[in-house]
């Protein structure tokens, strides 16, 4: 295998006196499907925010696709984030007043890509998650599982190196959870790198790798 997608080395993150992450080192190779589990307050979201370039480590080094991110300026981090990372949130974060297609197309609004063919690319992404039949619907008409699949389609726009999912099934019932997990399986089969944060065993057990986090430190299982 070539360069790791993620290479964390001795990453610390503290909020004043609170040490949210203590010396975290980890590697995620391209094509990995990895779950990070841990109780509430253990530092999962803090880790995900750093991995997603939404937050900076207090110290340590973070290479994304071989690029050292700690020294990058805000604007460069923003561009890197837009290009390399697809986010999937627990609460979907779909814009209620836009159609499904428009929500997916939003992922390209801040990129360099030209507008031409944007809708086709959105439909393509929706095909990967099996939601083309809802292309011009309002998100309000969709079930939770369908909404999450649309959100995943949005994250897939632009072919990111990494899918970062924060409790992606936290708002879903078991049937919809199953559908989303199946989707992850098929995306993984396509070669996508997926990192899922969860506290549900059902979710973490599907991942190829599981890492436990406790009090800001990682323990591989």
């Amino acid at each position: 295998m070539g360069e790791p997608v993620i290479a964390l080395d001795e990453v610390h993150r503290s909020f004043g006196p609170v040490m949210a992450l203590a010396s975290v080192s980890m590697r995620v190779e391209a094509g990995d499907y990895m779950a990070i589990v841990g109780p509430s307050g253990s530092g999962k979201s803090t880790l995900l925010n750093i991995l997603g370039l939404l937050d900076r480590p207090t110290s340590g080094s973070y290479l994304l696709d071989g690029v050292e991110t700690a020294s990058l300026k805000d604007g460069d981090r923003t561009r890197l984030r837009g290009r390399r990372i697809g986010f999937v949130f627990q609460s979907f974060h779909l814009l209620a007043h836009r159609t499904v297609a428009e929500n997916v197309m939003l992922a390209e609004v801040y990129g360099r890509r030209s507008r031409s063919g944007r809708r086709e690319r959105a439909v393509q992404a929706l095909r990967r998650v099996g939601m083309t039949h809802r292309t011009d619907f309002s998100p309000a008409t969709l079930s939770g599982g369908e909404r999450q699949r649309v959100a995943i389609a949005r994250a897939l726009m632009g072919e990111p190196s990494l899918l970062l999912c924060d409790e992606p099934t936290g708002n879903l019932d078991s049937r919809n959870t199953g559908a989303v997990l199946e989707l992850f399986d098929s995306l993984r089969a396509e070669g996508l790198t997926i990192l899922v944060i969860t506290h549900e065993d059902e979710v973490s057990s599907r991942a190829a790798r599981r890492v436990r986090i406790a009090d800001g430190a990682l323990v591989e299982e």
């Binding site: 925010n49 997603g52 939404l54 937050d55 805000d74 604007g75 923003t78 561009r79 984030r81 837009g82 290009r83 986010f87 949130f89 609460s91 974060h93 814009l95 209620a96 007043h97 836009r98 428009e102 939003l106 992922a107 609004v109 801040y110 990129g111 507008r115 949005r154």
Partner: protein, 389 residues
């Protein structure tokens, strides 16, 4: 992010809350509307008052001269001045204004056939200068005066009082017992209407009534020349003497009348309009701030999707600027409508500076942009981690 993407995102943001967006424009609508109404009504009313200085008043200059100052021939030079259409000298005194005039030599003691009328010596140009109409016969000319012909022309009302309706048979009138032939009847005076009750005599006959020199000069000017002529006429009539001794009666300057009106109206209402505009701006700022707070999650999502801080700021600025622009357009339309309606009711001619129609939307957009500045900065400064929580 291209301009089209920016515009589409901003438009979608506004359309997501259409009622709020519409209400937000109200402040700007009121502010711009008030300003347009103020400026429009001021211009319209100002123009209206200028309009009341009809052409007749605006082209009339009168010079009053002390006795023995201006000779009859001095007036001829006036008529040559550029801007003068015609000029006529008059002579009239208190004594000449109360002359007993009869239409018949035979004094019938049983009838009161005599009238007390004013005798006025006037140059032969009088009909033109007062824009009168010869109802019968003709006016005397320079020849009559030169030959000292004993002729008169009656003002229309004077003729009626004396029972003279036409002059075909050369009727005579008797003034202070002396006979004069009536050459014509002059009516339709548009200025110096008091001459309608006068007996007009050629200058040469003036001394018979104690009228030795010119007492008044009537000047009819071209439109717009009155001010200039009012300054030149005294110098022309009396180059030697202090011009101050001649009293000039000129129409008030129309431009000054206009300014006076506009200043009155504008002062208060302009302040009112600006205050409403500021209130409108505060309204936009307020609502945009509330909107920013409500859309924190959306801001976080956009940042996660690769939006930089400036993209977030641009979007909120575009939204507030556009809301201001719409407010400006609607305000200008309403304002223009009110000006037209008020003009219609008052039967005025609405006067609107077309530039207002262009400047108003721009002013509205500027107000919106300024008002959106603070909320946009707040939105841009938000940390994506916080915004997504």
């Amino acid at each position: 992010m291209g301009p089209r993407d920016l515009w589409e995102e901003a438009l979608a943001g506004m359309l997501a809350r259409p009622v709020r967006s519409a209400l937000t424009t109200l402040g700007t609508v009121l502010g711009i509307g008030t300003l347009v109404i103020t400026l429009g009504i001021a211009a319209t009313a100002g123009n209206q008052i200028v309009g009341r200085f009809d052409a007749l008043t605006a082209t009339s200059v009168i010079v009053e001269t002390p006795e023995d100052r201006v000779g009859w021939n001095d007036v001829a030079g006036l008529a040559r001045l550029n801007g003068v259409e015609s000029a006529t000298a008059l002579a009239q005194s208190e004594k000449s204004s109360n002359q007993s005039v009869t239409a018949n030599a035979v004094i019938d003691p049983t009838r009161v056939s005599g009238q007390t009328l004013a005798v006025v010596a006037a140059g032969p140009d009088l009909p033109r200068t007062v824009k009168g109409r010869i109802l019968s016969g003709r006016f005397y000319d320079g020849g009559h005066s030169a030959r000292r012909d004993r002729v008169v022309v009656l003002g229309a009302d004077a003729a009626q009082m004396l029972g003279i309706t036409d002059v075909r048979h050369a009727p005579a009138v008797f003034i202070a017992g002396r006979a004069y032939t009536v050459l014509g009847i002059l009516g339709g005076f548009q200025r110096e209407t008091s001459l309608a009750t006068a007996v007009l005599i050629p200058p040469a006959l003036g001394p018979e009534f104690g009228l030795r020199s010119v007492t008044r000069v009537l000047i009819s000017t071209r439109l717009g020349a009155a001010e200039l002529i009012a300054r030149q006429a005294p110098l022309m009539l009396d180059p030697r003497g202090g011009a101050g001794e001649l009293r000039v009666i000129a129409p008030p300057s129309p431009t000054r009348a206009k300014d006076g009106v506009q200043e009155d109206v504008n002062g208060l209402f302009l302040i009112l309009g600006l205050v409403s505009l500021v209130v409108g701006a505060v309204g936009i700022a307020n609502v945009t701030l509330v909107t920013v707070m409500e859309r924190i999650n959306e801001i976080g999502l956009r940042r996660a999707l690769g939006a930089g801080r400036r993209h977030i700021a641009y979007q909120f600025l575009t939204e507030s600027g556009f809301i201001g622009l719409i407010g400006g357009i609607v305000g200008a339309c309403l304002g223009i409508g009110v000006v037209v309606a008020v003009s219609a009711v008052k039967t005025w001619t609405p006067v609107l500076d077309l530039r207002l129609a262009l400047v108003s939307p721009l002013a509205g957009a500027l107000v919106g942009l300024l008002a959106g500045l603070y909320p946009a900065l707040r939105a841009a400064r938000m940390e994506p981690v916080e915004a997504l929580r």
